[in-house]
Amino acid sequence: MMNLSPIVASLLVVILPFLAFLIQAMLGRRSQQGTISLLAILLSCLISATMVFPKIWNQDTQHQALTWFSIGTKDFQIGFLLNNLTSLMQLIVCLVALPVHIYSRAYMKGDPGIHRYWMYLSLFCFAMLLLTMADNLLLMYIAWELVGFASYLLIGFWFHKESAVQANKKAFIINRIGDLGFLLGIASLYSIYGTLNLVDLFGEHGFLNTVPPDSSGWMTFAGCCFFLGAMAKSAQFPLHVWLPDAMEGPTSVSSLIHAATMVAAGVFLLSTVFPLFNTTVLLIIAIIGCITAFIAAYFALAQQDIKRILAFSTISQLGFMMVAIGIGAWDAAMFHLVTHAFFKCLLFLAAGAIIHEMAHLKAKHQLDFDPQDIHNMGGLRKYMPKTFILMAIASLALAGFPLTSGFLSKDAILINALEWGMQQGGLWLLIPIALIIVSFMTAFYIGRLMFKVFFGKLRINVENPGIHEAPGQMLGPMVFLGICSLFVVFSLNPLSYQQAFVLKGFEFDRDYTELHILHTVVPLLMSIGSILIWIWAYRWYAQGEAGGSFDKLRMTESKLRMTFPLLQLSLNQGYLNEFYQKAFVNSTVQFSNGLYWFDRHIIDGLVNLAGSLVRAISRISAWTDRYIVDGLVNTIAGSTYYLGHLLRWVQNGRLQNYLGFAFTVLLIGIIYLIFK
């Protein structure tokens, strides 16, 4: 193969999906197979894996930039920065996007708008890859918004579905809040340091703290702004509400954008600008992350929609990553990001396959049920064994079982958090403890999902349900992701996360001391706890009273909810949507209506009042004018008029009269001359 420099290669990596986007946009309906997009991402993937990542990872950092434009005396550049962080992120995006593309070919087959699907997907890949490699914050912001835009398009892909367009509107607007944060963060950095270039700010390696930690209020502000950006994109509490709704998009999209890549961009951003954060900001990040992890896990407990469970689990895991950043272990966050990308993507793809089959079942028997509701499933293990195995691997990874990648990364975060908490002491220990609880909750809800979907028996009572294994085109990518969810990909030692190559790439000095004891206790505790919870969940859902028929299950669940209002709260996502609707949306709408009323009636009213006032004054003056001033004038004018009328009679068009007048005047003139 050709030997391209990593910069040129990554330029290709970025450009190829963009070209695919352009070509697909031009071809429109003529290209439905998505071959172009697939080819582009395949090439990108190959280039990234062979020519960028091996040359950059643990080797020289490369940076190249061109002047884009200049304002005043400042130059703004456009360029790529390739270091461990960015090349890793680039590779991950490619590696996740490729299976999703292949999967989509089968999953989206026959959709009337599929040409748009491929177009949007390529656009997303382009923007996401650009985001990973941008060397300055402005370019990053551009890519940041573009991924949001692509996500908007893909959530609203089925635009005639009212819920989908509501969801994409919500997603974009909430992301906009984050974008504003990002923008203000950029503005503060610009006004503090006078540059937006990451190399100028942080040095070539991107994670050296070359910037003197400035603890002034504006640094805190800048940090909070960046975190706000990450909060919206990575769905952190309280801006997480868009992500569950975003599940209205095609499942393949959810797997790529709303599980693996885009939502992780916030974590990536925070890792990139990590040196900027002072302790205040870091604490805020940790606290928010912890709350998010907990609340999302809690909401996931009672959800009935398979995709929503996964969505909340994504939010929860993102919260984990945020905590890792907040405690300063951003390497662990990145590690978890990478592992999570694979297994969460796999979970979604598998869920997609299940939904696909359920939808088939629904269409075939013309039944009316929600194909995404886990209450309608059950016993699918028999029909879809391969999917079951793959999903089980992913679930175990999510729950943090040994031998999976999730075990490594989750332990990394938990152990770091515990070490940090012990260092800080006091109430701060609540954060690692909360994380441990969340881990158990994670194990529970994913276990619930697995057992409800795959065990027991199908709750839709039909003869010969006709559910079968997903086709190879869907299964293949899932197998690939399943392999990537195992420990071997990241570390040869299945039990020690410190051996993971990802973490080795990001070595830096921590602020807290390492406690060796934790490295053995925590994994052990977590594994045992998770297994116990799974057994309990299995007994409860697969064998116990909840394992029965659909009606029975529904009854039990509703009875449960009646007895435990907390469950009701969980199902309704804490009524946060309703609260936002009332508190923000409605009040904004009412405020704007009020303002419009103000505009119409007060401001415009004032203008019109001024107009009427002037008219009233002019009416008075017109009256004065007509009857007083004009009276006088009219007298004069009237007399002039009659005089004029008299003269007008002269102009009667009779030539003889004219002549007569001429002669009269002549005569008078002569007489005057005579008598002078």
Partner: protein, 101 residues
Amino acid sequence: MITLTHFLVVSACLFCIGLYAVLAKRNAIMILVGIEFIINAAILNLVAFGRYDKINYGGQVFALFAIVLAAAAVAVGLAIILNVYRKYKSINPDNITDLRD
């Protein structure tokens, strides 16, 4: 002895009659006739004064010119009257008031 004054008085009378015709007649042809009277009055003056200019014969020469002019004027005037008649079916100047405001 016929003095210059005699001629002048006669021509003044004729001029005034012509003027009256021009001003008062309700027939375009009669107006033309009035104009002829005025011209004739002028010719009479020319001729009368011409007696005292033997060197140039100015009076008589210009009298002749004036006759020619009068003839031309009549020709053109009549042509105009004919056209007016064609257009308005009348040669009464009172009926032709296009110049009115």
